[in-house]
């Protein structure tokens, strides 16, 4: 008898489903409110919106999808190899550090990463003499599509590695042991053990990366070499700023949501749903015996990824070290910004975790309840709905809510609330990816046991779910915090007095000739993120 085919009793599930519905509603309010605000403002002037459909839009849309598809392919395909290599070697010196390092690009503002990449491959980069010698003429930098792709891969390859690895780590130790006992080689083990898990996780991860690349703005413009490289995000920004044409902005945004949403939907159909392993793991640790050939190949994959990701980061560090770090650290403004950044990030990460957990739990509950039937709309929404937030530009959310809130009271008081909420929701797709594999696996193992023993509510959370979820929760929290340390686009109109965070300070210094200070602050941000990841790893491991 297949366990998952038998629906569990309904009452046990309604609470979880309600939590997920509430989380979805919260996201809906955030997006709907912004849209409502803009529609209200756009009430006059829809004719200009119709004019948005021209050749320019066609070209921009085509480029947006093309570069995002290439970026996704180049980020995710190598990530599979690297994640698998890391999964096959659960213990080696520096492994934990590599994983922590792989979370740092998330927290770097796009321009910092772009400058880091250019410090290596730019016209005046470290490798420029090499490329010049190879090409026989002066190297002109990787501006254009190659520059966009390299920078997107720098951002997204490490992200994909971490998310895929998280999925691979849900493979029960017993299966690894069994594969070792059966004498499975790397290929058989990939086919029967790793690929099923990867296949379940890949559409989600690829969809996430695709959305991040499709909405890229600073990287596309700065490294694109000219307006040939323009994304829809740029067009939306343009419509809202100089043109101040909310109707056009809404139309462009809907085009972006429709196109990107379609791609993500197609991707998600290509996946497979995983049937969790229902037995309790008895093997104490993963038993892996990769051969010498495989080990060296894996070492090459890991090293190549490490060099690729660490290179631009090293450039960021080198630039940062040239700044007067001690003076910077002593500045009251920097200390206050660090405190503000951390506080906002903690609040955003907490909110993000609550919402994400609600979605993950609800999705699983719906899946259990439906048995083998087709997933309902609500279940699908709980799965990928949150991710759609990523395709709505922060500048749109910011402007929409500004319009709504200006009647309510002092908009400045709302600025921190906006930052926390938007950052929390923007980080949800990541947190969901980090939480879901572990939760689904734990649920598959424990659901019937809990039902049989009558363990529910607080006791279940404390004794059953928490031990299994501690590590992914720590990872998700750290991820969400790292992400929240980044962007500020949402408050452009609100006024910045109350949200002078580290990235804000960085941009402010950069915007007033103080490039050294900005480089120093970028280093601060990176170190802060690394420290977060270290703490998360430590905390997640503790007591295991």
């Amino acid at each position: 008898m297949a366990v998952r085919d038998e629906p569990l009793t309904r009452p046990a599930q309604t609470g979880r489903v309600a939590a997920g519905a509430a989380a979805l509603a919260a996201i809906g309010v955030l997006l709907g409110g912004a849209l409502l605000g803009l529609v209200q403002e756009a009430a006059h002037g829809w004719e200009s919106a119709a004019a948005a459909f021209d050749l320019y839009l066609l070209r921009v849309a085509r480029f947006t999808l093309w570069q995002a598809a290439l970026s996704t392919l180049l980020s995710v395909a190598p990530a599979v190899l690297v994640a698998r290599a890391l999964a096959r070697h659960p213990r080696f010196f520096g492994r934990a550090f590599i994983l922590q390092l792989f979370a740092v690009p998330l927290a770097l503002p796009a321009i910092v990463a772009a400058l880091g990449v250019l410090a290596l491959y730019g016209r005046a980069g470290y490798f420029a003499p090499v490329f010049t010698a190879l090409a026989g003429e002066r190297w002109q930098g990787i501006y254009g599509l190659p520059g966009i792709l390299v920078t997107h891969v720098f951002f997204n390859l490490p992200l994909a590695v971490r998310l895929l690895l998280a999925a691979l780590e849900t493979v029960p130790a017993d299966q690894w042991r069994l594969s070792a006992q059966l004498g499975m080689g790397p290929i058989a083990s990939f086919r029967f053990i790793e690929w099923p898990v990867l296949r379940a996780a890949l559409p989600g991860v690829a969809g996430l990366v695709f959305m991040l690349c499709a909405t890229s703005f600073t990287i596309v413009l700065t490294l694109g070499g000219g307006p040939r490289a323009t994304t829809l995000e740029v067009a939306i920004y343009q419509a809202l700023r100089f043109d101040f044409d909310p109707a056009r902005a809404i139309v462009l945004m809907l085009v972006q949501v429709a196109l990107t949403g379609t791609v993500v939907a197609i991707l998600s159909r290509m996946g497979a749903s995983m049937t969790g392993d229902t037995s309790l793991p008895v093997a104490p640790r993963r038993a892996l015996f990769p051969g010498r050939g495989e080990t060296s190949l894996n070492a090459v994959f890991i090293l190549a990824a490490l060099v690729f990701v660490a290179g631009p980061m090293a450039a960021v560090v080198a630039a940062g070290l040239a700044a007067e770090l001690l003076r910077l650290a002593g500045e009251q403004a920097v200390q206050a910004a660090t405190a503000t950044s951390l506080l906002l990030a903690i609040l955003a990460a907490s909110l993000c975790l609550i919402l994400s957990a609600a979605l993950v739990v609800a999705r699983r509950a719906l899946e259990l309840a439906r048995g083998a039937a087709k997933p309902s709309l609500l279940e699908m929404a709980a799965d990928t709905g949150a991710a759609l937030v990523l395709i709505v530009p922060p500048v749109v959310i910011g402007a929409g809510w500004f319009i709504l809130l200006r009647h309510v009271g002092d908009v400045f008081a709302f600025a921190p609330v906006m930052v926390v909420t938007v950052n929390a929701v923007m980080a949800m797709p990541f947190a969901v990816r980090a939480l879901r594999p572990a939760y689904d696996a734990a649920s598959a193992r424990h659901e019937r046991l809990c039902a049989a023993l009558g363990i529910a509510g607080w006791n279940r959370l404390r004794f059953v779910d928490w031990p299994a979820m501690k590590r992914p929760v720590a990872t998700a929290f750290a991820f969400a915090m790292a992400l929240s340390l980044g962007d500020l686009g949402v408050i452009a109109l609100f006024g910045s007095e109350s949200v002078q965070t580290l990235p804000f300070l960085l941009f402010q210094r950069m915007g007033s000739y103080r490039t050294d200070d900005a480089a120093g602050l970028a280093l601060f941000l990176g170190v802060l993120c690394l420290a977060l990841m270290f703490l998360a790893a430590h905390w997640g491991r503790e007591g295991r």
Partner: protein, 335 residues
């Protein structure tokens, strides 16, 4: 520690709940852009100077930049909190006037001296600057002496410019080319294209690429070298003087409808034209003062490029053609 805690409190959004110490005083709210109110910007000094004499509380509210400033006021409409809006420029002037949210300043502009004899009954200039290509003198010995020379230079000369769709200097260059080349601007852009290393969304990214050595020239202001001379003591970064002249940007402030009958707002605009305000402009906003300063400017400003001719298109013409010109630029540059 206290400041830490207070910044945290504000971050939590409790600021509105705290009693204002200056509640008894009259308050004047000035909307501006962020770099104006930065620690090293002119805002803090100006606030102190004005509050010495006005017996009021001057409050700056800052948004991202000049364009965001106009959008914010436009969204707030008649209900705006702002008494004064400070930080629009000549290119935004026409659109700002169209909103009907600004009222004539009614002050004497005797102190004001800006190029091209700019005069407006609503907007008061407070500083100005010229767009210019700043170059690295260690990478380029003889920079182009005119826009034409730049346009026709060999492709080994690389420049970084900003995107006119997203940035004010980017729009400035578009207008500069238009002012010099007129109807042939599109051809000129086509010729310039192989010199353009990349087009960035804003000034910061472009200047960052320039200081990193990626390009040897960047679109900025004639005053940029003054920063490097005064703050960093280096003469390495210089502006190239162009024979056709340089495009002018004048920064402006005006009273809003809310301050229609507010004497304090008028007082601030008058104050803005005098030394109490203007002294803070050159070395804190890195622009030329539009009014009288109490003493001569730092000698570094004397060494800057003095444009042979001032170029400025009428605000109305800019407003009416901006979209068409940007589209023209796009079609040439996307080839």
């Amino acid at each position: 520690m206290y400041k830490w805690i207070s910044s945290l409190t504000i971050a939590l959004g409790f600021a509105a709940a705290m009693p204002s110490l200056a509640a008894a005083q009259e308050k004047l709210t000035v909307y501006t852009y962020e770099s104006f109110t930065a620690e090293w910007g002119p805002g803090p000094v100006i606030e102190e100077e004005f509050e010495k004499t006005c017996g009021c509380d001057l409050e700056f509210v800052s948004v991202a930049d000049g364009v965001a400033l106009l959008n914010r006021v436009r969204l707030e409409g008649e209900g705006t909190e702002a008494d004064i809006v400070l930080g629009l420029d000549t290119n935004l002037l026409h659109e700002a006037k169209e909103t009907g949210l600004f009222v004539p300043h009614g002050i004497d502009l005797g102190n004001i001296d800006v190029p091209a004899g700019f005069n407006d009954e609503v907007f008061v200039p407070y500083d100005y600057g010229y767009f210019a290509f700043v170059y690295d003198s260690e990478a380029i010995e003889t920079p182009p002496a005119s826009l034409k020379e730049l346009v026709e230079a060999g492709s080994d000369l690389k420049i970084v410019i900003q995107d006119p769709r997203t940035s004010t200097p980017g729009l400035g260059l578009l207008l500069w080319m238009k002012a010099v080349y007129g109807d042939e601007a599109a051809d000129a852009w086509a010729k310039l294209q192989d010199k353009i290393l990349t087009v960035t969304p804003g000034w910061s990214e472009a200047y960052g690429l320039f200081t990193n050595g990626e390009a040897s020239m960047v679109l900025s202001y004639t005053t940029s070298p003054a920063y490097h001379i005064i703050e960093e003591g280096t003469h390495r970064h210089r502006a190239a003087a162009f024979a056709e002249g340089h495009y002018l940007q004048i920064e402006l402030a005006a009273r809003t409808v809310k301050a229609r009958d507010n004497a304090l707002a008028t007082e601030f605009l008058s104050f803005m034209t005098g030394p109490g305000f203007q002294d803070a402009i050159p070395e804190k906003n890195w622009m030329f003062p539009a009014g009288k300063t109490s003493g001569p400017l730092h000698p570094a400003f004397e060494q800057l490029v003095k444009p042979a001719k001032t170029l400025l298109l009428p605000p109305q013409e800019v407003a009416e053609n901006r979209k068409a010109w940007v589209d023209e630029w796009l079609s040439v540059m996307s080839r």
